[in-house]
Amino acid sequence: MSLLDIDGLHASVNGEPILKDLSLRVEAGEIHAIMGPNGSGKSTLANVLAGRPGYEVTAGQVSFDGIGLAGVEPEARAQAGLFLAFQYPVEIPGVSNMEFLKAAWDSHRAAQGSQPESAVGFMKRARALAKGLGLNPEFLKRGVNEGFSGGEKKRNEILQLLLLEPKLAVLDETDSGLDIDALQTVAAGVNRFRSADNGVLLITHYQRLLNHIVPDRVHVLTEGRIVASGDKHLAEKLEAEGYAWLSG
């Protein structure tokens, strides 16, 4: 059983077909990179996996950890261990980051039938992780992403990844907009996360991230379908030559 099994997926956004016959398998322990030109459907794929309202599967199936995702609510997918780091994390003013993280963690535990973790223990863990990601623990008191810089928002996504310990992490351009140090911090976070039991789907435009997080497979998405797959050398070739040769 694959961790993620996408088979012949067609999906539309607001009635517009975007993904066209996309198939992909990710096994536990693997990191897959997804590259592709702007507008090729990478974020759409991420949102479809997460069950975002408005993203409609018109044909094909997706199963996660052996369970079909059709009709499963987004929060249930999350609780089952499917995590999406957003390309553009949204702000929730007034709700403190810590409160938000705790609510998220409690909901994950509740889904497993566990009691909420003690606030003290959780806060300690959150602070330590934040520090490790170069985020001042003061950030935990601020509103969710409220007034965070682009890079801070991305680190905050990784903080959530490490706190929630999902089975599959879909990271949508988490490297975009990061300075060189931040890139390394985020990469270290992802490497810390990875294990034999979980998987990562890494959406990126830049080969340099893949120097830090070495993928098992690289796929190229163009116009809603995977047009090429290979090992990490494929990313190097793309870096050097662009996408044109693929459609040629």
Partner: protein, 485 residues
């Protein structure tokens, strides 16, 4: 969601039960004879009866206000009963042991313990709250009277104060809200039934939170309570009121008057958690909450702050205000008003700056969901004598869905050239993106909405006594159920 939102809202008004007690209720209708009858029931002195009759005369000549942004069919004031009391209280109980156990159970069910030892055992999280419980037209029990008396604090039903402290009642009753102030205030002055009276003597810091719990039980009755709080020079008191009513198909009128008086350097903190029955999801039934609340900062450097969390009632018409007479006195208004389904709220405040260097702050948070209408209406007025007066107003609205409305009606009348008046207003919506972020982190939409709304209200909840802030948060959550999905 498996249940329809309608079911959820219906089920979730947890205070919606009826207590089965035999009541002594006047037949509907209002006349001089009814006013006299109410006064006689309470064995009031002649001055009190005369005061009521004067108010009745004024009321007859008045018409209900029509300027608020609310809609409802005209009220038949002859169809309402103006007095109802549980029969068992016909002769007022001397102690809790004499109170009908059925009534005590009612308050227990509502989480309001009237037995002092239970309060101490932590039924209410704070052992330091004294409670006056008003059931329909009468006060049924006041706790911790002795402990308060030690500190010199008077906390009793106003019907009792008329007898035990006539000089204070005569001096201050109607001094802040005159009888003819408005239609409902005049009505209340004529027929007011019971309510709380508080006097904190000079220099005394009231040793515990005081609270009144209002409960409407009887069908077709109005509740007209009257509260009077006086903080003498240098005194401090914090007071909280809570309210609930059974779920009924017809609308019920609640027309209260609250008057606060703060002398030199005195401070009164008045908090309300209003959870009257809001009606069902179709807008049937619910309380008409037409209330006049006003405080007078008579003394220099005195302070009055109103904090309200308004989640209930079919219609709310309410403007807790402060008249800032004393030099350097301070008025505050912190409000959360939440409307769902077909609720309508027109609420806000008036800050009347008369004295020099008076300051006021207004923080209003309106949340509208369902098909509800939520209006903020506020007046800031400065007189020529109010040199250096300052006001800061912040008025935020949050919309859930597309079918509801949020409105802001700020009025500024500035006659003081040296006054500073600031007004800020925002309107925001809970976005689908915010909800999806929460869901993607495993948080279901209802919990997410409640978290976002609570975050929005934080500045106001901070003003509530700790225990009540927690309650208020839960109340919002319950009131919002069915607002999404």
């Amino acid at each position: 969601m498996s249940e329809s939102p309608i079911d959820i809202v219906g089920q979730e008004y947890r205070a919606g039960f009826v207590t089965d007690v035999v009541s002594d209720t006047l037949p509907p209708g209002l006349s001089e004879a009814v006013v006299r009858h109410i006064s006689a029931k309470k064995r009031e002195p002649a001055w009190m009866a005369d005061w009521r009759l004067a108010a009745y005369g004024k009321w007859r000549a008045m018409t209900p206000p029509d300027w608020a942004h609310v809609r409802f069919p005209p009220i038949d004031f002859e169809g309402i009963s103006y007095y109802s009391a549980p029969k068992s209280l016909a002769d007022a109980p001397a102690s809790l042991d004499e109170v009908d156990p059925e009534l005590l159970r009612t308050y227990e069910k509502l989480g309001i313990p009237l037995h002092e030892r239970e309060a101490l055992a932590g039924v209410v999280k704070s052992p330091s709250v004294a409670v006056d419980a008003v059931f329909d037209s009468v006060s049924i029990a006041t706790t911790f009277k002795d402990k308060l008396a030690e500190a010199g604090v008077i906390f009793c039903p106003i019907s009792e104060a008329v007898h035990s402290h006539p000089e204070l009642v005569r001096k201050y009753l109607g001094s802040v809200v005159p009888q003819q102030d408005n239609f409902y205030a005049a009505l209340n002055s004529a027929v007011f039934s019971d309510g709380s009276f508080v006097y904190v003597p000079e220099g005394v810091r009231c040793p515990m939170e005081l609270s009144t719990y209002f409960r409407i039980n009887e069908r077709n009755t109005g509740q007209f309570e009257r509260t009077l709080i006086i903080a003498d020079a240098g005194a401090y008191v914090s007071y909280l009121e809570g309210c609930t009513a059974p779920m009924r198909d017809e609308n019920q009128l609640h027309a209260a008057v609250v008057e606060l008086v703060a002398l030199d350097n005195a401070e009164i903190k008045y908090s309300t958690v209003q959870n009257w029955y809001p009606g069902d999801a179709e807008g049937k039934g619910g309380i008409y909450n037409f209330v006049t609340k006003r405080g007078a900062c008579l003394g220099a450097s005195s302070k009055i702050s109103w904090t309200q969390v308004e989640t209930g009632s079919a219609i709310t018409w309410k403007y807790p205000s402060v008249v800032l007479r004393g030099a350097g006195s301070v008025g505050e208004f912190h409000s959360v008003a939440l409307t769902n389904n077909h609720q309508q709220a027109d609420t806000g405040t008036k800050m009347i700056h008369l004295g020099p260097n008076t300051r006021s702050t207004i923080i209003s948070k309106g949340i509208s969901a369902g098909q509800s209408q939520n209006s903020y209406r506020g007046l800031v007025r400065t007189s020529p004598a109010a040199k250096g007066a300052r006001n800061y107003t912040q008025c935020d609205s949050l919309l859930l869905g597309d079918a509801c409305g949020a409105h802001t009606f700020p009025y500024i009348e500035n006659k003081s050239p040296t006054a500073t008046i600031e007004h800020e207003a925002t309107t925001s919506k809970v976005s689908d993106d915010q909800l999806f972020l929460c869901q993607q982190r495993g948080i279901d939409p209802e919990k997410a909405i409640s978290m976002i709304v609570n975050g929005f209200c934080k500045d106001v909840f901070r003003e509530l006594p700790m225990e009540f802030a927690v309650e208020a948060g839960k109340l919002l959550e319950v009131s919002l159920e069915g607002a999404v999905g």
